[in-house]
């Protein structure tokens, strides 16, 4: 589902960046002998999409080469312009002794679309998403204040999370924050840090960020797997979630809906972390081993079999991608998913710290007061009490 969403999003962005309109009629090129005309050049300058098959496919034909005994016969079936066109459209038969498919691609114009996306919409919308989330939380805090514990603190505590659960949580949290910050440095360093602190500083910072980003990723993936195994069972939606949602989780208003170990809001956070984090991890591994684990052509091929891209007007998605284009699309997807998850996690950090009294203790010491537990996870508290009562020896 995420990849389908990405395919739609990517195509829309590309169309915004590069293809404002489509030229409908094929121009008469007889005056130039079939080569580009002035109107072709003007159309390209206006970023109109033109049918370039007259150039793309005009790459000569070895079978039409004249015998070598004839005039110019030794030149073969492709002229120099034919060969340059083949290089420009990455269809030339290039052989290299090192570097594989990547090195055999000499011109890769998909890089411009990626660059325009990364320098434009990704920075703009991604940056505003994070700032907007922070702003919304500040406004919410000013309006709602800190959610307190109703009634007296009992002084009796109950174990909310075991050590191994807290260990995995903090490993995931710490690694995600490091990955988020270093990812933002890499994306915004050139426009945000370099002008302020200079080339030397930016260079050292980004080289360090790259090391941290590449190597901390494994801790993130390990912790993601740990919380999936430990908490997935507790996060399966059930009927109590409907009540929780109807009462806005007690966040708005004064009611305290019953909940098990995790309430509906926490389940949304959990599955967001698993789905978005999982997608970030998969695309991240693809980027960690450049060109070795390409994902996008396979994903697009699968989407094409569903007919979905055509249904939403995107046509057939390209499945013959240059190795570089695979990495460009993967990087774009990785960043989009990361921005969405960062916004969600900022909200999670807010509610787990300044937003709610007593919430931090659950992950800090692992022990929460019974009054807090009763207010936020009443069904879970009753279950825990019943369990400990059953373990007590009969008097």
């Amino acid at each position: 589902m995420l990849r389908i969403a990405f395919a739609i999003l990517w195509s829309a962005l590309i169309s915004v960046v590069t293809v404002p309109a489509i030229a409908q009629t094929a121009p008469d090129r007889s005056a130039t002998g079939g080569a580009q005309t002035l109107s072709d050049i003007l159309a390209r300058q206006e970023q109109l999409k033109i049918d370039d098959s007259f150039r793309r496919d005009n790459v000569g034909d070895p079978d039409l080469a004249k015998p070598t005994t004839e005039q110019l016969g030794t030149l073969g079936g492709a002229s120099d312009p034919d060969i340059w066109r083949a290089l420009r459209y990455d269809t030339a038969n290039v052989r290299v002794s090192a570097g594989g498919d990547v090195a055999a691609t000499l011109v890769q114009d998909g890089g411009m679309a990626w660059l325009a996306f990364r320098d434009g919409p990704l920075r703009t919308y991604g940056g505003w998403l994070l700032l907007g989330t922070l702003g919304a939380l500040i406004v919410f805090y000013l309006l709602r204040g800190r959610i307190g514990v109703d009634g007296e603190i009992t002084g009796r505590t109950v174990t909310r999370f075991k050590s191994i659960e807290r260990f995995a949580h903090w490993m995931l949290a710490g690694s995600f924050i490091l990955l988020g910050i270093t990812g933002l440095f890499v994306l915004f360093g050139r426009v945000g840090i370099l002008p302020l602190l200079g080339h030397e500083f930016n260079s050292v910072l980004l080289i360090g960020s790259k090391w941290v980003h590449n190597n901390v990723s494994w801790a993130f993936m390990l912790a993601l797997g740990m919380i999936l195994v430990m908490w997935a069972g507790h996060n399966i939606p059930n009927k109590t979630d409907l009540t929780w949602i109807k009462q806005f989780g007690g966040i708005i208003g004064s009611k305290h809906p019953p909940a098990k170990k995790f309430n509906a809001g926490q389940k949304v956070i959990f599955w967001s972390v698993i789905l978005f984090g999982g997608s970030i991890a998969v695309s991240g591994v693809s980027l960690l081993f450049p060109y070795e684990l390409p994902l996008m052509a396979k994903t697009f091929a699968f989407l094409n079999t569903t007919g979905l891209p055509e249904m939403v007007g995107l046509g057939v998605l390209p499945t013959d991608l240059a190795a570089q284009e695979e990495m460009q699309l993967t990087q774009a997807w990785h960043a989009i998913m990361a921005f969405v998850l960062m916004a969600i996690v900022i909200a999670h950090i807010y509610i787990g710290s300044v937003g709610m009294e007593g919430a931090y203790d659950a992950m800090g010491s692992g022990e929460v007061d019974e009054a807090w537990a009763h207010q936020h996870h009443s069904i879970w508290l009753e279950e825990e009490k019943a369990k400990s009562a059953a373990q007590q020896p009969a008097e």
Binding site: F167, W170, N215
Partner: protein, 44 residues
């Protein structure tokens, strides 16, 4: 608090170990993009 610090320490240990292991098994990007005709070692 101790568990939190243990989680953070694990991140550092895993990061250093990952860097070492990937380097040892030849996953440096320069080596992956190289070929038999390119000598990267010994300052060549």
């Amino acid at each position: 608090m101790k568990v939190m610090l243990a989680g953070f320490a694990a991140i550092a240990i895993i990061a250093v170990a990952a860097d070492f292991v990937l380097d040892e098994i030849g996953f440096a990007s320069a080596e992956r993009q190289s070929g038999a005709n390119v000598r990267l070692e010994d300052g060549h």
